[in-house]
Every structure is written in structure tokens, then in C-alpha cells.
Amino acid sequence: MSTSIIDGTIEDIDVKRARGGFVVYNSIRFRLPDGSPKSVVKSVVAKDVADELQPGASGRFYLFSAFDLKGIHGFRSAGGKSVYKFPGNNAKIFIFVAVVNVLWVALRIALDGQIPFLGVGLFILGVVGYVLMSKGEREAKQQFEADGGYAPASGAPVVQPS
């Protein structure tokens, strides 16, 4: 799990699909204050945040990476607008997988004394996935809240003119 920040301006976005309150991007290309490009690929963004991610949007972008999920969970615009929403409910899916499989393993042991290896594997994966995803969501929220005092330098453009 990691979080990071990009200060810059969105130059280009390539949406893969938008469905169920989430937008999946093939890529989002930023221009950084020093003029260099920076791309984020295959990222998932909640719709509330995605609404703000348009070419020309400038400010501070908050990114996360948890398990196999990457995305943007927050944005503070140069104009002072602030939006946060962590995408996905994967933590709940993982805990569901863990609970179902521990029940399955228990049932098989009780009924025929066999240990189903697939059930054990899915239980371990569910627990690990739940721990990583819930930790990721927690750290993303902490990162965004801890940076509440962010304000772009007054009068200075976020991106240097080329």
C-alpha cells in the first residue's frame, strides 16, 4: 500500500469505462510544475472525484495503490475546491470471500474429514486482501485529511508556461 501526490495539470485523459459509481481510466497524463510529463495508467476513480478530472484541471491529486488496485482518491483544485472519495468496496468483497471459505473448510472437515485446498487458499487470499485493502483505504483518508492546509502558491501557476 502506498499513497502519493501529484501537483500539476491534467493534459489528457483516456477513459476505459464508467459504471456503477466508478470510472476506470486507461491513462491520465499530467504536466508537472517543472514541465515534465507524468502518466498514471489503469487507475480507478470514484465518480465524485472523476467529475473533477478533466483536461486542464489543475491542483493537487492524491493517489493510492493497494493490492492490485490503483487510483486517485482525492483532488484539491488550484481554485480551492476539495473532493475525496475512495473508490471500490473491495475490502468487503475480500472479507466475504474469507468468511464463506472458512465456513466451507469447516463444513468439509466436519462432514468428511477432508481439507479443501482451494477453500484454504481462498480464505488466506481473502484475509490478506481484506487487510491490504482496508489498510489502503485508511491510509488514503489519513493522507488526504493530513494535507487539509494545502493551497497553491498565490499568483504562481501550477504549471510553468512552456
Partner: protein, 209 residues
């Protein structure tokens, strides 16, 4: 881009890369030898009264496999740690998890490959690593690695199968297939280790910023 962590110096990677490559080469040679002996002997090579040479090579193979795993996992940890030190952001698995995922059932089908791919990309361009194209050898390595492991797992399961007559012979065939597949996987991983080490060492020694 804002970076909150102070940059740490890169850790030396070539000192681990050399023994890792040597052990991988040895593993490939032993696997190829085991497969050749098995094919030459024919059915029953793995029986109690089967090929003594095969049994000796298989034992050596197991010892080398354990040693290779330890050294390669140390290399993976350090290589992944270095790309974090280079300032690459948005990386998936941490150095610990780049190793740990090999031991998580089902997760080990995908996540170690993701970690290796990210390490490769971020070694080449840590700043904008997500758009770096990866060499097809990563995909080939992972294909051979998974295929070898699946064949090995099937062989192991069949070896203890008592209800199904003829399971022992089929187990031998899967065992040989596993040996045939692990050889290219080892050679491809040698190449991957070489390329990533070369990129990171050039940065560590200041040849590239």
C-alpha cells in the same frame, strides 16, 4: 511531483545478482539433465528401483532449488526496495510483499509478476515508470514459471494418488514436463535479473540521473 520521503542511497544489487544468476544457470542445467535422464530411462524412472542417477540429480536439484529461491528472493526484495529509493511512486507491492506474494495461494499466480514488471519499469524510468514498455521476456518467464509449477503440483498430487491405477506413470510425465519447463524459466529470469541489475547499477554509480 511532491515527494515526502527523503531519498535513500541505492543498495548494491550486482553482489546478489551474480550468485542468483549462477544458481539459476545450475538449476536450468540440472532440470535439463533430469528431464534427459527420465526420457532416456523411460517409464519407472522414479520408482524405488528406478534410475539411481535420476534420484541423485533430483536430490541435488531440490537442494539447488532451495538455495536459488533464497538468493533470488533476496534479490527481488532489494531490487524492489531500490525502485522505491529511486523515488518511483504508485508502485503496487512493497519490497516485503514483492517476496511475500510468492507464498500466498492464488495471489502467487499474479502478484509476483506484477511486482517484477513494476521493478523492471521503474528501474528504467523511475519518474514516469507507468508508461515504460516491458520486454516480452517477462511474460515468457512468467508463463514458463507457472506452467512448470502447475505441472509439478499435478505430479506431486498424482504421486500420492492410490485409487487411480497408472497415476504413478502420469505423475512421472508431469514431473518431466515440470523439469522441461523450469529450464527456460530459469534462463529467462537470469536475463531479467541481468537487465534490472544493469539499470540500477548504472544509476547507483551515477551513470544516469
Amino acid at each position: 511531483m511532491a515527494t515526502h520521503a527523503a531519498r535513500l542511497p541505492l543498495r548494491r544489487l550486482d553482489a546478489l545478482a551474480r550468485p542468483a544468476q549462477l544458481l539459476l544457470a545450475l538449476q536450468a542445467v540440472l532440470a535439463a539433465s533430469a528431464a534427459a535422464i527420465a526420457l532416456n530411462y523411460g517409464a519407472g524412472y522414479d520408482d524405488e528401483d528406478g534410475s539411481g542417477v535420476y534420484a541423485a540429480v533430483a536430490l541435488l536439484q531440490a537442494l539447488v532449488y532451495v538455495g536459488t529461491a533464497i538468493v533470488v528472493l533476496c534479490w527481488i526484495y532489494r531490487a524492489n526496495d531500490n525502485v522505491h529509493r529511486l523515488g518511483a511512486e504508485q508502485l503496487g507491492p512493497s519490497p516485503g510483499w514483492a517476496v511475500g506474494w510468492y507464498f500466498i495461494p492464488l495471489g502467487n499466480l499474479v502478484m509476483p509478476f506484477q511486482a517484477m514488471r513494476e521493478t523492471w519499469k521503474a528501474s528504467i524510468d523511475p519518474r514516469d515508470w507507468e508508461v515504460v514498455r516491458v520486454s516480452p521476456i517477462l511474460g515468457f518467464w512468467w508463463f514458463f514459471w507457472l506452467a512448470s509449477n502447475i505441472a509439478g503440483a499435478v505430479a506431486l498430487r498424482l504421486e500420492f494418488e492410490e485409487e487411480f491405477e497408472g497415476a504413478g506413470r502420469i505423475a512421472e510425465q508431469f514431473g518431466t514436463a515440470s523439469d522441461v519447463l523450469i529450464a527456460p524459466a530459469s534462463l529467462l529470469l537470469m536475463a531479467i535479473i541481468g537487465r534490472v541489475t544493469s539499470e540500477q547499477e548504472r544509476r547507483r554509480l551515477g551513470a544516469i540521473e
